[in-house]
């Protein structure tokens, strides 16, 4: 936090950009005095509860919902069969290869269930409680099918199939080969000539986004029009997709994301329940609401990560890297959701990291299993890539007997080499890895900690110390539309904004980047305050309603400020250009003689003259006196489509204490220096870095979605799916270097995912550095005390965890009343 306090003292004179403003939206978000979707109450509204499959893989042989239909307060019950003809398939917008196999994704199962928690019937009742009570009355018979859970087994010859109408469990095989693309040399050749080859298998465990506000949807039918409120990150994309799935014409469907309490990619989705709400509201002609419980959320909202990575790196004896080869198995889960297949493919371009690999080949198999689908989760593909490269660089350093930092230095892109086109074909825009690293070393107190590490080793202290390094970059600002097209992504990556100048001089900014907690309202207000020279308080930011903000591509991939903010700045430029003509007219001067600063047009060399842009807004509202041949409006709209990604980078250092007696790991110190380009609001940047670090550290140390052998999610509550709290995290020493991004007018690179992407390998590298001298080579994430202890005392990577729930807060499940349908 110190960094922020220092910065607040030194903003530019009256500039909003760079000010550590507190977020204007927070008071209402934190106190809950706002519209969350679940707060919506409409006259005559009915409530949905979903009967969910208690088994991972089975044929549905009988569905009896008579008792549920007769339960008090129940208005209707729909089964998969009832909706089969109109439900279509949930969309997958990213066919990563032309021959990718997509089995289709029903919103509600008709004949077969493919993961625990899949919807099999929907109860519609007059109250939420009545709907939930009736769930237990649905009687469904299942004929079990073999359950496919392990990816390595799923791709083996003769494996049981998730979808028996398909030939295998492989959805696609995606290849990027730098040699074939012409961005690098031949990989096989690079490896065959190398002095040293290091190969590792890393496991990216399955994670659950665990956003704070559970998913919720409300649909109101009005004639042939429908309004869908949803706790979604992507109202604009949802509108297009829901229209295509349900057949409701796009112009008859309005989607509203009111205030949304977090998503982390978990709400970058077209959810089965959103479609079910639309279908049922259409059937009944009544407003309906569905809000998930936390258990439903953990069990059925899409998960993230879940990859097995086989990574080979080749180098010469001096530590010059020669080639990188990556082979992935990526768990799709049972179906392909919105961008399920694209997540590992997006990562493909980041494996080379900040290093000058001459050769690179990437292959990935998307694999079906009987688990809930995976999809975007903070970083989406890039944390996995960063983990693999930053872990293998440490392994290579060990193999070469080199200092891990020296090895990195020797191979990273030097500041003078920007812009630099990598072996993956990406043109890195700007940065300076050395400076960021130096600053991080100082923040950490690197030399002293290395000295302490030596002392602890020598004295055989039961608590050992290690230091982990992660020098990372990521591609942000998703995304240049043409690049997305070349990757077969189903949409572009532009963003839209408009500015409305109100008669009283107040400003409405309409953004297509729908926030879900990031602070867009504050940052956008700062941008507009500077551009138009109006007070920060005079700006209101509107978002999230397709009837107000008709064009947009929403918030994910650290794109909002970079793309959406740039659209706002461009729109402001247009407002100024339009106002200039009117100012010239009113001031009776030539446009060329006008200068615009501090919100005022004045005639050059004529002090005292001047007209504020807010005054012009009133003048043009009255429209009594304006130039011939133009429209009486200074409102403007802009769409920004970047030509390249932006590439934040940074150096993260973690010092870790490992209690070798118990295996308990404790972060002693954490220092990060991030280059996110121009900083619009240091407080928001700091907040994003802190949150990202928490999630990245959580992957390293705490979180893991575990299924038992039958495909039940064992980590089905927060007792067993361990999300750390502030009390479990260290103080963060953060800093920044600033290299403005050349690709957008703000110079911003994106900060939403940086902390999450960078931190995981720093933490794991630190733990390994502490115990490597004890013979430990790898510890599987998350680094539970048990795994660390086993790795130290029994060898291996710590092994599997016992898949039983912890007994804390449990009642033996045999005590449970009959929950056929299992909606907990």
């Amino acid at each position: 936090m110190t960094a922020v306090e220092e910065r607040t003292g030194t903003p530019g004179p009256d500039k909003e950009i760079g000010k550590a403003r507190r977020r204007k939206e927070d008071a209402r978000l934190i106190t809950g005095r706002t519209t969350w979707t679940d707060n919506m109450v409409l006259p005559g509204m009915l409530h949905l509860a979903v009967v969910r499959s208690p088994v991972a893989h089975a044929r549905i042989t009988n569905v009896d919902v008579t008792a549920a239909r007769e339960a008090p307060g129940v208005v209707a019950v729909f089964t998969g069969r009832d909706l089969a003809d109109e439900q279509g398939s949930l969309p997958c917008a990213w066919p990563v290869t032309p021959d990718m196999v997509n089995p289709g994704h029903p919103s509600i199962a008709v004949d077969q269930v493919n993961h625990v928690g899949e919807a099999v019937a929907v109860i519609v009742a007059r109250s939420k409680a009545a709907a939930q009570d009736a769930v237990e009355l649905a009687d469904i018979d299942y004929e079990p099918l073999p359950v496919v859970l392990d990816m390595e087994q799923a791709v083996a010859e003769g494996a049981d199939l998730v979808h028996d109408h398909l030939e295998s469990n492989t959805s696609y095989h995606f290849v990027f080969d730098a040699g074939e693309t012409g961005t690098g040399g031949d990989t096989e050749q690079a490896f065959s000539g190398a002095d040293v080859v290091v190969s590792r298998r890393f496991v990216q465990q399955r994670l659950i986004p665990a956003f704070m506000e559970p998913r919720s949807a409300v649909v109101q039918p009005q004639g042939d029009n429908y309004t869908l409120w949803s706790s979604t990150q992507i109202p604009h994309i949802l509108r297009v997709m829901a229209a295509m799935v349900t057949g409701i014409p796009e112009h008859k469907l309005r989607v509203i994301a009111p205030d949304v309490g977090g998503g982390f990619g978990g709400k970058l989705q077209v959810n089965p329940e959103e479609i079910l709400c639309l279908l049922i509201a259409r059937r009944l002609g009544k407003p309906v609401k569905w809000t998930e419980t936390r258990s439903e959320s953990l069990m059925t909202a899409h998960h993230g990560r879940d990859q097995i990575q086989y990574v080979d790196v080749a180098a010469d004896r001096e530590g010059n890297i020669l080639g990188l080869r990556v082979r992935l198995l990526a768990d799709m889960g049972a179906y392909l959701r919105l961008i399920t297949p694209g997540v590992p493919a997006l990562g493909a371009f980041m494996y080379p990291g900040i290093y000058k690999f001459p050769a690179y080949r990437f292959e990935c198999d998307g694999v079906f299993t009987n688990k809930v689908p995976t999809d975007a989760y903070r970083g989406a593909g890039r944390p996995e890539a960063t983990f693999a490269i930053e872990r293998i660089m440490d392994e290579l350093a060990v193999e070469l007997g080199m200092d891990p930092l020296e090895l990195r230095r020797k191979n990273w892109i030097d500041a003078a080499e920007f812009p630099f086109t990598t072996v993956a074909g990406l043109a890195y825009d700007s940065g300076d890895y050395e400076t960021a690293t130096q600053q991080a070393l100082e923040l950490l107190g690197y030399d002293e900690l290395r000295e302490e590490q030596r002392r602890r080793r020598e004295s055989n202290d039961p608590v050992q110390l290690g230091i982990g390094i992660s020098t990372f970059t990521e591609m942000c600002g998703l995304a240049p539309s043409r690049v997305l097209g070349s990757l077969a992504f189903g949409a572009g990556g532009w963003e839209s904004a408009s500015i409305r100048m109100l008669p009283t001089g107040k400003v409405e900014v309409v953004t297509g980047s729908t926030p879900h907690g990031q602070g867009h309202e504050t940052a956008w207000s700062q941008l507009v305050a500077d551009s138009l020279g109006v007070p920060f308080e005079d700006v209101e930011v509107l978002h999230g309603d397709t009837a107000i903000s008709s064009r947009g591509l929403d918030t994910y991939g650290s794109r909002s400020l970079v793309v959406g903010g740039s659209a706002v700045v461009k729109a402001a430029d247009k407002v100024i250009a339009k106002a200039r003509r009117i100012a010239a007219h009113l001031l009776e001067a030539s446009e060329d003689d006008l200068e615009f600063s501090g919100g005022k047009f004045s005639v050059r060399g004529t002090p005292g003259t001047g007209l504020g842009i807010q005054e012009i807004a009133l003048a043009i509202f009255a429209a009594h006196d304006y130039p011939e041949g133009i429209e009486p409006s200074i409102d403007a709209e802009a769409t920004f489509d970047p030509e390249n990604f932006s590439f934040p980078h940074g150096t993260h250092l973690c010092a870790m204490e490992v209690d070798t007696e118990t295996g308990f790991v404790k972060i002693r110190k954490y220092a990060s220096v991030d280059d996110v380009g121009t900083i619009v609001n240091p407080l928001i940047v700091e907040g994003q870095v802190h949150g990202g670090l928490a999630q990245g550290i959580a992957q390293a140390l705490y979180e893991e979605a575990i299924y038992d052998d039958d495909g039940n999610l064992t980590t089905g509550t927060f007792v067993d799916y361990l999300v750390p709290a502030a009390s479990d995290l260290p103080h963060f020493d953060t800093g920044n270097t600033v290299h403005a991004a050349p690709g957008n007018p703000i110079g911003a690179k994106g900060v939403g995912e940086a902390g999450c992407i960078a931190s995981t390998p720093a933490v794991v590298n630190a733990a390994l550095d502490a115990v490597r001298h004890l013979g430990v080579q790898d510890i599987r994430m998350p680094l539970t005390p048990e795994r660390v202890w086993r790795a130290i005392h029994q060898g291996g990577d710590g092994g599997d965890r016992a898949p039983a729930r912890s007994n804390a807060q449990a009642v033996d499940s045999s005590d449970a009343p009959s929950t056929s349908g299992g909606a907990l």
Partner: protein, 285 residues
């Protein structure tokens, strides 16, 4: 996460409470702080017919001095326990362990009595009560009885409190002489239950340990006393070596469970390490 329907009673006296339980039908649950009961009801793992809320019953909340013991009312909340001067003076181990329970919000509602009657093997207070030789005062239709800690915890989530009965208070004997206490808890995040924990109560005189009582959390379906450790420590020199040697026996005879946090062999290992740490700290080593 909506509980099944239930009837609700809110008595104001212990007698009324007993009557409400008797009248409540087949499956009656007593509600104290609700921090364990409400979650299982919301998960529909429990679906009582009637819930009898003790929140308004007089005289169950607070701590009093009763000569050779302090008496803690069953409805005394965890946060009351943390602020109480009698507990701080006579049984600081209880406060120390309570301080590791959950988070502020849970401690504000959860109760001492509720935690003991719930008897979650991973809960922190049962092993503490066992190590302090606490006594449990239970009332029921048949009157009032007192059960020693050693006979209170019967099985997984099962205590001597029978159907139709209430725990009203817990008597904790005051300890004479120079005693040290420590609760050593091992968990992954601050607000979590114990993977394993050890409550140590040690009397030290003239460089020797004259008596030691060691309670184990989550080393079986009920809290346990590590009797072999206690025997090895009785009369031993108060040295790191003696404590370490005695602690090696901490897991003897235990059959802990295997779950996401720990498999049985690791739990047994933890019990030995944590016993050494707990006893060392309690003995001032």
């Amino acid at each position: 996460m909506i509980p099944a329907p239930f009837a609700y009673a809110r008595p104001t006296t212990v007698d009324e409470a007993l009557q409400a339980i008797a009248d409540g039908g087949e499956d009656v649950k007593v509600l104290a702080g609700g921090q364990s009961l409400i979650p299982v009801m919301r998960l529909r793992l429990a679906a009582p017919e009637t819930v009898v809320d003790l929140g308004k019953v007089e005289g169950l909340r607070g701590v009093r001095d009763d000569g050779d013991a302090i008496v803690i009312g069953a409805m005394t909340t965890h946060s009351d326990v943390l602020a109480d001067p009698l507990i701080a003076e006579h049984a600081p181990l209880i406060a120390e362990a309570t301080g590791t329970v959950a988070d502020r919000q849970v401690r504000h509602r959860g109760t001492f009595g509720g935690a003991l009657v719930h008897a979650d093997p991973a809960g922190d207070l049962p092993a503490v009560a066992l190590a302090l030789d606490a006594e449990f005062v239970i009332v029921g239709p048949g009157g009032r009885r007192t059960v020693p800690a050693s006979e209170f915890f019967l099985d997984y989530l099962t205590t001597a409190v029978g159907e139709g009965e209430l725990l009203v208070e817990v008597r904790v004997p005051k300890l004479a002489g120079s005693w040290g206490m420590h609760y050593e808890k091992f968990n992954r995040v601050a607000q979590a239950w114990s993977i394993v924990a050890v409550a140590a109560v040690v009397r030290r005189e003239n460089g020797r340990i004259t008596e030691a009582r060691v309670g184990l959390t989550n080393m079986g379906p009920t809290p346990l006393r590590a009797r072999q450790v206690e025997e090895a420590l009785a009369g031993a020199e108060a040295t790191a070596e003696a404590v370490a040697a005695a602690s090696e026996r901490a897991a003897d005879g235990t059959e802990p469970s295997s779950d996401l946090n720990a498999q049985a062999d690791y739990r047994q290992h933890l019990a030995r390490v944590l016993t050494r740490r707990a006893v060392s700290t309690a003995a001032g080593l």
